[in-house]
């Protein structure tokens, strides 16, 4: 003890009772791990190896991610019950991460499916930053168009629509000059387990950027209608619509019904006015179309968000929509500066953020079981949702998304 005396100041003396209490406290806290994933490794959802995953370099921009023990089962081990992502910012995605009460069990769903690349998802929004390192590989590429030749190779009425379309400017560049569409797209399909940034609900995806909202986040119903027809004719299976306003529009309803007739799901945000959609419909979430799922927002403890519209008979499900960490454009633009949005990744609130959780799980389920139709996917999402008593009177059936149960 004499050799170590320099570590222990002579002035530090504790009563025996205090020492025992501290020892017991330390042992108790170390053994009491709340809400941790049960995986083969027995580790927390982000292991040290995952956090210290190899960084991308110019020589190796997509390094092979570290393999956690939970992804390399021994021949005699049971299949993993959950799958974690090695993305270093994954721990910030409290909507997907373990520690919130509003647990939508995405990691358990990932044990069954992570790849949605066979299910194109259209994002009707302000565009997408297609160069974002956490999105680029998950952006849809039209196989029937030859880039830059100035011809409408697939004869769909749009020239060189290689990666979606810009309906504001009527050109083939749907780059996000706001931030909203990039954020929504990240929740759906940020590249997962690539050692970069965050993970989307779909680790691999095909996001079709359809820009109809301008740099202020505003757009026209007529452009949204064009985008819906474009998306359906392109062959998407899910459309995410995190926008709203205006009144009933028969032409818009007809477009959504066209999507229904072609087996396409339409996911619509319920609105951010804190209003009762049963009393005053909010559109397009308020259209009574068979393929439409209207989505409210809940917070980390499964309470309806204060800003979220609701509807005991018209809003079909809730999903996390507060403090949602996702991708943003990597180059700061005027809208981001005005709204104090950070480049590359940031948090946002809104039913806009809740809707893409549903869209991502819908794509995940379709990829898991390609035989499922839009109607059966909608039914599965709704019937397998968790019933949350606090949502009584706010959402039909008091439902909140459960990703794992949807795929089971």
């Amino acid at each position: 003890m004499g050799r170590l005396s320099f570590l222990i100041p002579n002035s530090v003396q504790l009563p025996m009772q205090t020492c025992v209490c501290l020892i017991l406290t330390g042992a108790l806290l170390s053994g009491c791990k709340m809400d941790r994933t049960t995986s083969l490794s027995g580790a927390s959802s982000l292991t040290i190896n995952q956090a210290l995953a190899p960084l991308p370099t110019s020589a190796n921009p997509s390094p092979t991610p570290s393999i956690s023990p939970s992804t390399t089962p021994s021949p005699t081990a049971s299949p993993p019950t959950s799958l974690s992502a090695n993305d270093p910012l994954f721990s910030q995605q409290v909507d997907l991460f373990q520690n919130s009460t509003a647990h939508i069990h995405v990691k358990e769903a990932w044990a069954l499916q992570t790849d949605c690349s066979g299910v194109p998802v259209a994002v009707l929004d302000s565009g997408v930053d297609m160069a974002h390192p956490d999105l680029a590989a998950n952006i849809y590429t039209n196989p029937h168009e030859i880039a830059g030749n100035g011809h409408d190779d697939d004869s769909n009425g749009y020239v060189d629509d290689v990666h979606g379309w810009n309906f504001v400017a009527s050109n083939n560049n749907p780059t996000d000059d706001h931030y909203h569409g990039t954020h929504v797209s990240g929740t759906i399909g940020a590249i997962g387990n690539n050692g970069i940034g965050i993970a989307g609900i779909c680790w691999k995806a095909q996001i079709v950027p359809l820009k109809f909202l301008d740099q202020t986040g505003s757009g026209l119903n007529s452009d949204a209608i064009k985008a819906i027809y474009y998306a359906v004719d392109l062959g998407v299976k899910v459309i995410n619509a995190s926008f709203g306003g205006g009144g009933y529009d028969a032409a818009f309803k007809a477009a959504i019904d066209y999507a229904a007739a072609h087996d396409v799901l339409f996911i619509a945000a319920a609105g951010n006015d804190g209003a009762d959609n049963d009393a005053t419909p909010f559109y397009p979430a308020g259209y009574a179309s068979t393929n439409l799922i209207s989505v409210a927002s809940v917070d980390a403890i499964d309470a309806i968000s204060s800003f979220s519209n609701f509807g005991a008979t018209s809003v079909l499900i809730a999903a996390p929509g507060e403090n949602i960490y996702s991708t943003t454009p990597t180059v700061q633009n005027a809208g981001m500066t005005a709204d104090h949005i950070a480049a590359s990744y940031d948090r946002l609130n809104g039913t806009s953020m809740a809707a893409p959780h549903i869209a991502g799980v819908a794509a995940l389920y379709k990829a898991f079981d390609p035989s499922q139709t839009a109607a059966s996917i909608k039914a599965q999402i709704l019937s397998r949702a968790d019933v949350i008593s606090g949502l009584n009177g706010k959402v039909v059936g008091s439902r909140r998304l459960n990703a794992r149960a949807t795929l089971h």
Partner: protein, 236 residues
């Protein structure tokens, strides 16, 4: 010796308690942050050289000035720059909803207002010149006046393009039929939507009631299934 072993036990107890707290809270909360920052910084430096140029501003009028309602801060404001806030992935405590464009600074082309009824309800219609792709925007607001205080409060608001309507033809009618029917009435076919599934039909929309008059005219025209406003929607 006795004093030393008690002192050592005390020190050991404190260490064990600290370890226990860290183990319960999560080691990754400490270890990840530094690695994340360096990793993201490296990723960002590569990105900035490859980023696409932003779209050029919309044409059609003066730049759109953005005046939006204040965004409630629900936590401690971050003092970091936006790039630092993103790169450091720290929870700044600012919870934001996308702001909604309200066109409050757009020049007013024309306006009209009804007289408040017995309950104080009245309607205000304004035509504004904005920076949207079709610059004329009609803002229709329903208000309630508190006669006791003289305060007015808006209860409902919709925005739409002021000088065109979305129009659908009856089955069997073609685009040529549309032109033949609407042009003599003073309309023009501004755009075709998705191969003729609908059309944008334009008119002189500078006056507040021009849109309602145009809709009534088209409603009475044979071959037209319906015509309705082209509403403006917002990210939410």
């Amino acid at each position: 010796m006795k004093k030393n072993w008690k002192t050592g036990l005390g020190f050991f107890s404190v260490i064990l308690a600290v370890f226990g707290v860290l183990d319960w809270y999560g080691w990754d909360q400490l270890i990840v942050s530094k690695e994340v920052h360096s990793g993201l910084t490296k990723a960002q430096s590569g990105l900035k050289t490859a980023a696409q140029a932003p779209l050029s501003p919309l044409g059609g009028g003066a730049p759109l000035a953005k005046v939006s309602k204040p965004v409630p801060n629900r936590g401690v404001a971050s003092t970091q720059s936006p790039n630092e806030a993103g790169a450091n992935e720290a929870n700044s405590g600012i919870f934001r909803e996308p702001r909604i464009e309200t066109f409050e600074s757009a020049p007013v082309v024309s306006a009209s207002e009804t007289v408040p009824d017995q309950e104080g309800r009245f309607t205000r219609v304004r035509v504004l010149k904005t920076g949207m792709k079709y610059p004329l925007v009609r803002v229709e607001e329903k208000w309630v006046r508190d006669f006791a205080t003289g305060q007015d409060q808006v209860t409902h608001r919709v925005e739409m393009i002021a000088d065109h309507l979305i129009l659908k033809l009856d089955p069997g009618y073609t685009a040529e039929d549309l032109v033949r029917v609407v042009v003599p009435l003073g309309f023009e076919v501004r755009a075709t939507i998705s191969g003729g599934r609908a059309y944008l039909v334009s008119f002189n929309g500078h006056e507040p009631m021009a849109l309602e008059k145009a809709a009534a005219q088209l409603k009475a025209t044979q071959g037209i299934s319906y015509s309705e406003p082209d509403y403006i929607v917002h990210a939410n």
